[in-house]
Symmetry: C2
Amino acid sequence: MIAFGVPNGQALEKKSDYIRLIKEFGAKPITDELLKRFKHVHPLLILRHFYAHRDLDVYLDYHDEGLEVSIVSGRGPSNYMHIGHLMLFRFVKWLQDELNSYVYIPLSNDEKYVFGKTRDLDEAYKYAIDNALDIIALGFSEKRTRIFISTRISEIYELSVRISRYLTYNTVRATFGLNDSTNVGVVFYAAVQAAHILLPTIKEGQPVLVPIAIDQDPYMRLTRDVAERLELMKPAAIYSKYVRGLTGEPMSASKPETSIFTVDGPEDIKRKIWNALTGGQPTVREQRKLGGEPEKCVVYEWLRIFVYKDVKDARRHYDACRSGELICGQCKRMLAEKLIQFLEEHRRRKREAIKKLDRYFIHEVRIPDELHIT
Amino acid sequence: MIAFGVPNGQALEKKSDYIRLIKEFGAKPITDELLKRFKHVHPLLILRHFYAHRDLDVYLDYHDEGLEVSIVSGRGPSNYMHIGHLMLFRFVKWLQDELNSYVYIPLSNDEKYVFGKTRDLDEAYKYAIDNALDIIALGFSEKRTRIFISTRISEIYELSVRISRYLTYNTVRATFGLNDSTNVGVVFYAAVQAAHILLPTIKEGQPVLVPIAIDQDPYMRLTRDVAERLELMKPAAIYSKYVRGLTGEPMSASKPETSIFTVDGPEDIKRKIWNALTGGQPTVREQRKLGGEPEKCVVYEWLRIFVYKDVKDARRHYDACRSGELICGQCKRMLAEKLIQFLEEHRRRKREAIKKLDRYFIHEVRIPDELHIT
């Protein structure tokens, strides 16, 4: 996801925040009506994990009129990806299949470096390649996917310069909450992010859709304003809620226990899930008698978002927990097994992706020496 | 010249300003001792048109030890070049011959666009190619000269990003006198300019010398600070005074009468010089009797800087003016003739330069349709 300098997964915890976006800032809820426009609806849409949008209807109109469309879904390469990232890109892959769209994936090594999330640009480069392999492993179309490292194509800088004249320091400071001792790379990155999003429109005349976490709407609004001033189609957005990390905190690479990373082995996965926050009772006896509270349970949340392909399965699980039929150990084992299995298969595909890496990149790439693929 | 957003030729008019740089900011005067280190000394050095430096001695040490050295001399392509620009590049060409050095010439289309000096990047591109032809026409070495348009090689952006983490908004605002409604392109350009200067050192390990107008020393200091933090050799600088425009004001493309441009025809040249500010007496009779004041005269200043190759010729001219032997019409005719002749020959070479343009550029170039070469 286009992740602009926000601490990883700084969630809008309260329901009211999710609603506020719609009420105050004019995003629109995803309605059943809108979902009818897809041939096969993705579970994350049915579940309203993706729950709001800007101009998704307009974007679908363009698509229905036969225009080629693009999706822009970036990644800030400061670490190995975790299960939350994989699920987002799996959703993007579904969108690609559904709309036969192009997918642009900017890997923003510049962002992670200027925000001090990587030691240097080389480190960000290493993660960029690793992350790209994870993304390719999800099955994106070779022909219709364009991956690039932000500093490696001159078009991005040129377009950022073009955009920068329309962004004052004041606006950027307000939008991103900067202070004056911020480095100038951070300041300029506002223009670079807009360039990532607007590239397919400027280069190919294609409407753009950005799947993005909801707290990033301010950057989306800023980019849409810029598009208007450049007399371009405004990019559409589809907004997701946050998924909590295993400990109940936001998922973050700096707190490994909060999530499952693509490099985690079976024992890591079992341990992390075993220690996860649940909504269970203190004892099995009480659980059987009183039932659990799936609303509080991260294990249930993860099963619902990451594992169940059908909303009905999630509903059945919910009821079984509530009734005391399920106990926490069962749910944890189920989640651990599914993720171990998924990641084993994923890593197999990731190893295969090495061979076709250069078919996805729009500039030359080299595999760094210390790439970590287990 | 690396010209950072300063109104064209915003001269330090007073002698005291020239001295202040040396006293307050620690630049050093160019001494006779230092000039002895060149095989053939350029008149602009003897005249102390280039009058101060930072680490030129250290740079010459590197050269004498057999290290390959570079000169970085940029150009902001917002208009056709004028005679002042040509003379600066002619000096750079002399330095190239003298030191057998590489010359890097960044054409900062980004700078001119973000500072609002060109309508769009395409306009800056057009001037960049025109200016490059003027520069090539001066006879730079094909093998040892690297011209590039700032937004057209990804290395410049990548290096700017690397530098940007060491430059806070506060520092840049103070150095360049920005206010908070400045666009973010201007803010970031501080890092881009440093990238232009440091590229040969980072890419090739070569010491760099920058010939630059004296009022740009603050940017030079900033770049030298950045070099220190990146543990690189600090770039050396050699500082010139300003040459006044024909009207006595600074030369500027927005005031065509202040200078002679490469596109000016003989009639333009004669007219502009005929109207130039001189130090002459109101009548020929008074001139013969009292003599002129060459210190005030722009025509004399131009002859001295642009025409005379020998300091002794300039001195003879000075005396002849003082004594009343010369009258203004003679000097104006002489200057006009020399410049008409020089520019005619220059334009011939410029037309020839079209054929070898791509041998100087380090990226692909195309000749724009509306290139203006007379």
